[in-house]
């Protein structure tokens, strides 16, 4: 495919007006991502009618919305690192190593490092999008139920890395996460499972309720405890730039995670949260010598690169197949249709100003975000010095608003608070929150696709091993379990 569309695109994206839209979108997106209450999908849903009534041309509208989207993926990391409250679904794993880093007084370094790895993930995804989009579109459709099952088995195999000193707690956490996914409508039979006749629960527990409950409410309670026992210490801000050896150590994890994140993002059935989970657990499996989870830069760089790459990957099915790759791209696809534009491969030839403008703006936007984010680190770390009498009420209100604006229902908020108290108890008992989140993120995809695959085959298990792609993931699952084991044996 010729790259003519891209040059047209750069000509469109570099006009002063569109540069301004990209800048505004990046800024808004970073804020939206940083606020725990609102994620990219809400941000875009809010901006869309405004863009439409302003009668923006379609390419400007797309540039603005896309900038909000990847801006939010950058912004999500900020509250994860600084206050252990993920800003959006893709940033959950960022908290696992990011927050310990901040507590050690390396918050500014962590923010800079994660901005760098976000940039690498984002830019590699755009490069992938530029050169391989049509090919990847073909790859994405090869994923039927059986292939998703194999992919999820691989993801669970990487989870073996989470098994630490107390494997039983990791497994229980993971089972709790899996259990939470069974709540709501069972897609295969249409049955309502564990909904207690509450319509709010018919669509299942939204990720945001669990994440906000487990992370922010339980964090508030832990901080309260530290306050009373006198162990709530002010955290030093530290120097702003990570050391050269840290950057070097993060290089390969970032590259690997960008590639895997991008591919997982391309698949319509999985998104940024699965991508960052797989990237984190894979790197931990390959590299961990007991430092992951306690503030390892590599454990921070991997999920950040992956979630930004996944956000880019989600554009592939949208642009090449006209099928959304994520909830957020679904809203953007709706926006294109409003302009009477049908996405698909023909978009690159018939409307190069839109496909090209969008892709070109992603190059520009990622650079803007990097430039914008590094000086902003100094402002963001100030969050660490906000007195807790102001910070805690803010976290509390944002947590409640985040759930309330999604459901407009008091019961969901109460449920979120209940989950928070439960999370606090678990943390006191020495459980990690990450396995719960991983179980939740992967569980639904696994169960639904396994049952869909068996529905297709009429109960024949062999359907799971029929395609090259599935068998590749099965092999990778075996390898990811065996290689570290083999390496550690050889080391002895």
């Amino acid at each position: 495919m010729s790259l003519d569309y891209l040059w047209t695109g750069f000509a469109v994206a570099l006009t002063p007006g569109n540069l301004l839209f990209a800048l505004a979108g990046c800024f808004l997106g970073t804020l939206i991502g940083a606020l725990p209450a609102i994620g990219p999908i809400n941000g875009i849903a809010l901006m869309l009618p405004i863009a439409y009534t302003m009668k923006l041309p379609p390419e400007s509208c797309m540039i603005l919305l896309a900038a909000i989207y990847y801006g939010a993926e950058y912004g999500g990391r900020i509250s994860s690192i600084l206050i252990n409250v993920p800003g959006d679904a893709g940033a959950v794993m960022t908290a696992v190593d990011g927050y310990p880093l901040a507590r050690q007084g390396r918050g500014a370094e962590a923010l800079t490092m994660s901005a760098l790895s976000s940039f690498v993930g984002g830019i590699l995804a755009v490069i992938g999008l530029t050169f391989f989009a049509p090919l990847l579109g073909l790859f994405a459709v090869k994923f039927g139920p059986a292939e998703y099952v194999a992919l999820m088995v691989f993801a669970f195999a990487t989870l073996a890395s989470m098994v630490g000193a107390e494997p039983v707690k990791t497994i229980i956490g993971c089972l709790i996460g899996l259990l939470l996914t069974t709540i709501g409508l069972d897609p295969t039979s249409g049955a309502y499972r564990f909904t207690f006749d509450q319509p709010e629960m018919h669509d299942g527990l939204e990720f945001i309720i669990i994440v906000i409950g487990l992370f922010s409410i339980s964090e508030i309670l832990l901080m309260l405890e530290h306050k009373i026992t006198g162990t709530l210490k002010p955290i030093p801000i530290g120097k702003g730039f990570p050391s050269w050896s840290d950057i070097k150590a993060c290089w390969w994890p970032t590259i690997r995670s960008s590639v895997s994140g991008f591919i997982i993002g391309v698949l319509p059935g999985t998104g940024a949260s699965v991508a960052s989970a797989v990237a984190y657990t894979t790197e931990k499996r390959l590299l961990d010598k007991g430092t992951f989870g306690k503030g390892d830069m590599r454990g921070l760089a991997a999920p950040e690169a992956a979630n930004n790459a996944a956000a880019g990957g989600a554009f592939v099915p949208m642009l090449t197949l006209g099928v959304p790759g994520s909830g957020t791209t679904a809203v953007m696809l709706g926006a294109l249709l409003l302009y009477n534009i049908t996405p698909g491969p023909q978009l690159f030839t018939e409307k190069p100003e839109i496909a090209g403008g969008l892709i070109a703006s992603m190059y520009i936007g990622n650079i803007m975000l990097l430039i914008m984010n590094i000086p902003m680190v100094r402002i963001f770390v100030k969050m660490l010095q906000v007195p807790s009498t102001w910070l805690i009420p803010t976290i509390l209100l944002l947590s409640i608003l985040g759930v309330y604006t999604a459901y407009s229902s008091v019961m969901s908020v109460l449920l979120m608070i209940g989950i928070g108290v439960f999370g606090w108890a678990l943390r006191k008992l020495g459980f990690d929150m990450a396995p719960i989140i991983l179980g939740f993120v992967l569980g639904k995809v696994l169960e639904t696709n396994l049952r869909n695959a068996l529905a297709l085959s009429g109960g024949e298990i062999s359907i799971l091993f029929q395609s090259t792609i599935s068998n590749m993931f099965w092999a990778m699952a075996v390898l990811i379990v065996l290689i570290p084991w083999w390496l550690s044996r050889r080391a002895k």
Binding site: E225, T389, L396, I400, K428, L429
Partner: protein, 159 residues
């Protein structure tokens, strides 16, 4: 904390871990019973909606048993003062949220953020000021700048 306290704590913690493990096993049983109550007409797949929760119940019960036998480490129990404050914060927050449709977001937000500020060490007057400022700021931001629905309160503005 001193070494002797730590030893007492360890035993104490093993007990709280065992209590948690017992709760987990009980929960697995309830889960299995709940699963048997799932109503459905038919499913297009051979496993059906009950297979997965049943499997989880069995695994949870096994892990619960394992956990019971090897309770492992847990943080020390929170002091009474901590439990009391946590209870106050949770209760004030839950009651404010529960009454949000009636007393309105503004009032509910005021109560919970003032309570949180107070528990985190603000002087009473300061806590009231923080509560009011937080409530107004987020209410205005969400209601007017973002245009989301927030209840104004059926008791305050009937009709």
């Amino acid at each position: 904390m001193s070494a002797s306290q730590h030893d007492d704590g360890a035993e104490h913690n093993a007990r709280s871990s065992r209590v948690a493990a017992a709760i987990l096993i009980a929960f697995a049983v309830i889960l299995a019973i709940g699963t048997s109550q799932i109503e459905y007409a038919f499913s297009s797949d051979p496993l059906g909606p009950r297979a997965f929760p049943y499997l989880l119940a069995v695994l949870l019960a096994f892990c619960g048993l394992w956990y019971f036998l090897n309770p492992g480490a847990a943080s020390p129990w929170p002091q009474m003062a901590v439990l009391r404050s946590a209870l106050v914060l949770i209760a004030v927050t839950a009651i404010s949220v529960g009454l949000m449709d009636k007393i309105g977001f503004l009032t509910a937000a005021f109560f919970m953020s003032a309570c949180a500020a107070y528990l985190f060490g603000a002087a009473p007057l300061m806590a009231i000021a923080i509560g009011a400022a937080q409530a107004v700021f987020w209410f205005v931001l969400f209601k007017y700048a973002l245009g989301t629905y927030l209840p104004s309160g059926s008791w305050l503005f009937p009709g």
